[in-house]
Amino acid sequence: MGITTTRRIKVASAAAAGLALVLTGCSSGGSSGSSSASSSADCSAYSQYGDLSGKTVTVYAGIVAPEDAAYIESFKPFEQCTGAKVDYTADKNFETQILVQAQSGNAPDLAIVPQPGLLKQLVATKAAKAAPAAVAANVDKWWGADWKSYGTVDGTFYAAPSGASVKSLVWYNPQKFKEAGYTVPTTLDEMAALTKKIADSGQVPWCAGISSGEATGWPITDWMEDFMLRIGGPKVYDQWVNHDIAFNSAVPTEALDGVGAYLKNPAYVNAGFGGVESIATTTFQDAGLGIPTGDCSMMRMASFYSSNFPTDGSVTVSKDGNAFAFYLPGQKADDHPVLGGGEFYLAFADRPEVQAFQTFLSTDTWANLKAKASSSITKGGWITANKGLDIANLVNPIDQLSAGILQDPNTVFRFDGSDMMPAAVGSDSFWKQSTNWITGQSTKDTLDKIEASWPKS
């Protein structure tokens, strides 16, 4: 036994050394030539970027399969016309990984940052690079000033917007609405009246779910932000987000009570799941599955919810299908405040090829390429606030609705407030206290506790 074991271990260690050599050989190569999807594409629009053959731009994001495929596809014309290679990697731990990478000098060339709050943290690591003038000019041309301000930190413009999402939406079942003779409300009062009408008919009108792992509670923060925007108006909303008014002052109290009139009324919730408490234990993904079946009449949830419906053909998302969304109305029919979110391209390198790619991403050309790619690969699910986006390039009715809302000149857009607040509030106490609130804590206690958790500085 002695000799054979010795030999075995020798062989094993030799194999390990051999393996190590072979593998390092593999890891450095492995780049595959891009397939010729549209090799004869018109390259004249790309001549401004020059010849970037042999250069590589790395992009890191939190957007994974299947949505990543549309990004990779939309980069292809740039790769083919300039010769540069775009290396896209993504994982869902992006928000912590990108901070580690920025701090240890391992940052990618470009990161797709989903929150202005994280953007500020990344700029604070001093690893980020300000956007070149060409990007700033494109953003001035294609986006509103509010969007540019979200990519600006301390007066320096860093990041151009990428995608956007609209959160002020209420999902409903158009077929059931038609059968019952309900109409889509155009003011908050009409929505309250409709809710009462449905409840009086013996149906539970609303469904909601806030369970989402460690982020449990966030759907309520969205509800409250929407009501802040409607009750206080955009100005007070900005003051609230920047903590110029206290979290437990009059308007936020009114807003949260406004949400409570729906979510904490046992006659109004929680269709298909149980009482008010069941909101805390239902995942947001599951909450709206009762809409196409008719078990639930309304759910306030962002545009991306459409990807949660089963894809077996039982659900048709369209204006006269069995699932669609209407714009969560304002106080008056003319008010158009919209709560939303978005991603931003933040650069950590200022090499010419990175800046060229950054510039390309801030054009309407890319916006439409990406919209087309998303339409064909994931049946939509991506929009942008870029004014050059042609709505005809969107196939998903929800995307068309959302893009229409974003491009409406009456729309007043505001970024999701919890994404802009300090992390101790926006991704901690606001979520947790909202969860406590739905399970019985009073509005006053809830807002007092969030106010107390706001970092002093």
Binding site: G2, T5, S27, A65, D87, D91, L289, P310
Partner: protein, 308 residues
């Protein structure tokens, strides 16, 4: 399992006879095999396996059913689908786990062999060689165990970036080896100390040097301890997400299964029907390793932990 006693243990533990002439082992055997103990063991095993069984059932159900009802409804309303496995094993997109499966193997095998090799050599030196500052060094190595991985992430990554190996397999292999060494050295050292000194001396009298003693004497006797630690390290590396994600990143060229599994649910967690089948693809290798090496595992767990 109970009948095969490792030769070393047999040598060390001399059977103590009780008044009735039975060994303590026989008493223990009788007590442990009482029907009540068996029942408790069966109940525990069933409870323990139930969630995994639920996962297995779920992995064969169609997407709509997974999302609508619990796996137990399978028995009243059986629906069967291989779609989840088709997507996970042969899908065209990044749902396909196959390349990551290979990456996992490539990461795990060197990351298991390297610490075993280094630690057994180090443990031999600590156990049977005399040099200045030996005790101090040994305590230092052992004390390194208390350093949490998390505090080392950013400094280590900075080092790797300077060396130019961040985002390659080297960074992951090195990190796993480093993190495994303190415990490995400690375990193997204690095991080696238990080997009677007379054996070593006898070998020396016959003219054997350290190298001969290590390879011809120590390694054969160490097999159970090495195997046990190997399994332990294998499971740790195979299931690791943090180290691989931080040092190698998430690119398809280097990322292991765990990263792919983590991303499988989709950006907003809506595609979780693939998780159960993905989990089974990921579980299968550790289960095989465990099943084939488990006799070493049980035997080796005691190695180095209890002094005779």
């Amino acid at each position: 399992m109970t009948t095969t006693t490792p030769p070393l243990d047999a040598a060390v533990a001399s059977p103590v006879k009780t008044r009735r002439g039975r060994t303590s082992g026989e008493i223990a055997k009788k007590q442990l095999s009482s029907p009540w103990a068996s029942l408790a063991a069966v109940v525990l095993a069933a409870l323990w396996t139930l969630p995994t069984f639920g996962l297995l059932v779920t992995s064969f159900r169609p997407e709509a059913d997974i999302k609508k009802s619990g796996w137990w409804t399978f028995f009243t309303n059986p629906t069967f689908s291989l779609e989840n496995y088709q997507k996970v094993l042969g899908g065209s997109g990044s749902d396909n786990l196959a390349p990551y499966f290979v990456n996992s193997l490539v990461i795990t095998i060197p990351a298991v062999l390297a610490p075993i090799l280094i630690a057994s050599l180090a443990a031999y030196a600590f156990a049977w060689m005399d040099f200045r500052g030996k005790n101090f060094l040994f305590v230092t190595v052992f004390a390194l165990q208390v350093v949490p991985i998390q505090v080392t992430l950013i400094p280590l990554l900075s080092l790797y970036v300077n060396l130019g190996i961040a985002g390659t397999y080297w960074a992951v292999w090195l990190s796993h080896t480093m993190f495994a060494l303190p415990l490995a050295v400690f375990l193997l050292h204690n095991f080696m100390r238990e080997i009677p000194g007379e054996l070593i001396e006898a070998a020396r009298m016959d003219g054997a040097g350290h190298v001969t003693i290590f390879f011809k004497l120590m390694l054969p006797m160490l097999t159970p301890a090495l195997a046990a630690f190997g399994i332990y390290q294998f499971l740790w590396v195979w299931n690791d997400l943090l180290v691989a994600l931080t040092f190698a990143g998430s690119s398809k060229a280097v990322a292991p299964m765990t990263v792919a599994l983590f991303n499988l649910t989709g950006t907003r967690g809506s595609a979780w029907q693939l998780l159960s089948s993905g989990a089974f693809v990921s579980i299968i290798v550790p289960v095989l390793v465990f099943v084939f090496l488990q006799r070493y595992f049980v035997r080796g767990l005691l190695a180095g932990s209890v002094k005779g």
